[in-house]
């Protein structure tokens, strides 16, 4: 298959060999699970359980609410200790509402929804409802509720379901292992999703540095002519949705549009497997494969981890630290988020837990920019990081926005390549945060203005009505102005407010 080039990118040290040959192992159930109500993009789920409740494995313990949300399920049977605020697996270290579950060791399944016997004759709704009910979110890291993405087929004509098995982040091997160990589950899930989306073709994109996965997946897909496995070049950030679409189809997703607008829906391979479980067995998403790696981990491994297990327990399972980690990262080293502590849970979007030493990170003090232009050369989005950072440094965020800072998806290529070790991505994260704040604030100001105007109009109307009523009652006192005392006015307003 003909591939298309993508702009820029880097070739970091992949270091996948630490875990790529380690078969997936199951982590024993820890003493407690911490299940946040929000592990996804969108609104937090509505809690369904209370302290002391006994729950079974797979039972829904928090229900999705609003349009973009995802449910949470008990990863094992046990007792709800409490529902409280717990530090989130997020760099801010802020707390979020979390259900704490004490496993009872029996691991008893709840009554699961019936498997959908023949998904290929089921309609889109049945499949999507099941996916939504199972709390499935994108497992590549962004954690966007999958059911919403599966609904796209109803709004748009879709051509390709693209499975993202690029796994371009260094260290991470969880998708690689899942593809090598469960190819048929992925293929089945993909066929079900393609059916729900109405896409005639399925393409599975895998980076060439995973030859076994490519071979195994190709073999598994050989029975289905509509499924094609494509080996894509090793080039970070190939796993970026838009770039993978460009590499495979040659088409460039316009800014502010979705790949679905081009007729292509992208899902991660592990997500596909979760869909298979939900449809064929009625099992919700309650565990995921996490790559635990990095120079500070004693026994790096690919671990099937129950959702809600604390990072500390997971690290303990992998032999603990062999050296003091400089950073513990949730996800890959390029786009992952640093963790504020080890007392935070593994969530549905956690693809890796990396304990990295200072040598591995190789960050050094920042020196002056020498305008070498490397960042411009490597930027896969065609931006000019050097100029954007100069604007952000002087707090000219408007200037940075004009140069496209909001188009940056923080892939980190510029920071990686910078010979002066300027924290370019950090500058852009800051700028994007402030610009989003300003946007929110100006939207709020707009709303406030409308509210104030509505109120003024309402009060005027009420006063008018009162005046009319007064005039009707006392036609004699026509000439005198209507009562303007505070009491009367307040009464009017009270009526208006009622």
């Amino acid at each position: 298959m003909k591939l298309f080039p993508i702009r820029g990118g880097i070739h970091p040290d992949y270091r996948k060999e630490q875990t790529s040959e380690k078969a997936i192992v199951v982590m024993p159930m820890p003493a407690a699970l911490y299940i946040p109500l929000q592990q996804h993009i969108g609104a937090p789920a509505d809690v369904l359980v209370a302290e002391g409740d006994l729950v079974k494995k797979g039972q829904m313990i928090a229900r999705n609410q609003g349009t973009v949300s995802a449910s949470q399920h008990a990863p094992t049977s046990g007792r709800i200790r409490t529902v409280t605020e717990v530090t989130a697996p997020h760099p801010s270290g802020l707390p979020q509402t979390t259900i704490i579950l004490e496993p009872d060791g029996k691991d008893e399944w709840a009554d699961l929804p019936e498997p959908i016997a023949d998904p290929f004759s089921a309609d889109t709704h049945t499949i999507n409802d099941r996916v939504a009910q199972s709390g499935i979110v994108g497992m590549g890291g962004a954690a966007f509720p999958s059911a919403i993405k599966l609904n796209l087929g109803e709004q748009k004509k879709l051509e390709i379901l693209l499975l993202n098995g690029a796994e371009c982040e260094p260290y991470l091997t969880c998708d690689d292992r899942v593809m090598r160990e469960y190819p048929d589950e992925i293929i089945d899930g993909a066929r079900i999703m393609a059916h729900a989306l109405g896409t005639p073709r399925v393409v599975i994109g895998i980076e060439q540095n995973k030859p076994q996965a490519i071979e195994i997946m190709t073999k598994a897909a050989s029975a289905f002519p509509e499924i094609k496995v494509v080996a894509v070049p090793v080039q970070y950030p190939m796993g970026s949705e838009r770039h993978l679409v460009q590499a495979i189809t040659g088409r460039e997703t316009p800014a502010r549009k979705l790949t679905a607008d081009l007729g292509i829906v992208v899902h991660n391979v592990s997500t596909t497997r979760a869909v298979h479980h939900a449809i064929r067995f009625g099992r919700p998403l309650i565990a995921r494969v996490v790559t635990v790696s990095g120079g500070a981990i004693r026994e790096p491994n690919n671990v099937l981890t129950p959702i809600g297990a604390r990072v500390a327990d997971l690290v303990e399972f992998c032999g603990g630290f062999s050296a003091r980690p400089e950073s513990v990262v949730n996800g890959g080293p390029m786009m992952g988020q640093p963790l504020p502590s080890l007392e935070v849970p593994v969530v549905k979007g956690t693809s890796g837990i990396l304990a990295l030493t200072a040598e591995e990170i190789n960050d050094r003090p920042t020196s002056a920019c020498i305008r070498c232009g490397s960042c411009v050369t490597v930027c896969p989005c065609g931006l000019s990081p050097v100029d954007m950072a100069a604007f952000v440094r002087k707090d000219n965020l408007e200037g940075a926005a004009k140069l496209g800072v909001m188009d940056c998806f923080s892939c980190g290529s510029c920071s990686w390549v910078c010979p002066s070790h300027i924290p370019l991505v950090h500058y852009f994260n800051y700028a994007k945060g402030v610009l989003n704040d300003l946007e929110r604030e100006s939207r709020k100001n707009e709303r406030i203005k409308t509210l104030a105007e509505v109120r003024v109009i309402r009060i005027e109307k009420a006063t008018e009505a009162k005046r009319a009523a007064l005039a009707a009652r006392k036609p004699a006192s026509d000439a005198t102005p209507p009562s303007n005392s505070g009491e009367a006015k307040a009464a009017t307003e009270e009526k208006a407010n009622a």
Binding site: A88, P91, P365, Y430, I448, V456, E494
Partner: protein, 187 residues
């Protein structure tokens, strides 16, 4: 020498004349500035700027009588918008960004007198006579007009909470080996 002086003089006269003509014929109609400024203000007539309402503040701004940093509910966004419109540089050093705030009713103290409801210009307070009141945070823009009218001091201003949804990375602090001069600017 004479030629040089002469030609420069002629060039000066011609170019100066051109500029004068251009200023007359290409002049931009004066904008109804006051209206435009009013558009930029929150419009809730809270009066925290010291003027009666947003229109009056806009008028004062248009005349250049008022500084652009008087609108607390508008915050930095409004200051920057005003600065841009008026073509002045916003001196944010004087302006202490308090960070957004909203009103909060201590429910134990509220006696349900509805005075605050009458004061609120954005209908951000819910409640009725003899019933406890509460603030709709999304509609409250932190003008704090309701605080003084409360007979039981049940209303306090609290900062808008930083949550996982609105948290963002702070500006990076750079440990530098060299480059940045400690004083003055490079350009």
């Amino acid at each position: 020498m004479l030629i040089a002086i002469g030609s420069l003089t002629i060039m000066g006269i011609v170019l100066g004349g051109l500029l004068g003509v251009a200023a007359r014929f290409l002049a931009v109609e004066e904008n109804p500035l006051e209206e435009e400024l009013k558009e930029l203000l929150p419009g809730s007539q809270c009066g925290q700027c010291g003027y009666v309402g947003c229109s009056q503040y806009a008028a004062a701004l248009a005349k250049g009588e008022a500084p652009i940093t008087l609108c607390p509910p508008g915050g930095k966004v409004v200051i920057e918008a005003l600065a841009k419109k008026l073509g002045v540089t916003a001196d944010l050093s004087e302006h202490e960004e308090k960070g957004p705030e909203h009103a909060f009713i201590v429910e134990d103290l509220c006696i349900g007198c509805t005075r605050c409801i009458r004061e609120c210009s954005t209908d951000a307070i819910m409640g009725a006579n003899k019933l406890m009141h509460t603030i709709i945070v999304d509609a409250c823009h932190g003008c704090s007009k309701c605080v003084p009218v409360c007979p039981t001091d049940a209303i306090v201003m609290v900062p808008v909470r930083v949550t996982l949804r609105n948290w963002h990375w702070p500006k990076p602090e750079i440990e530098q080996t060299h480059s940045e001069p400690k004083v003055g600017h490079a350009h």
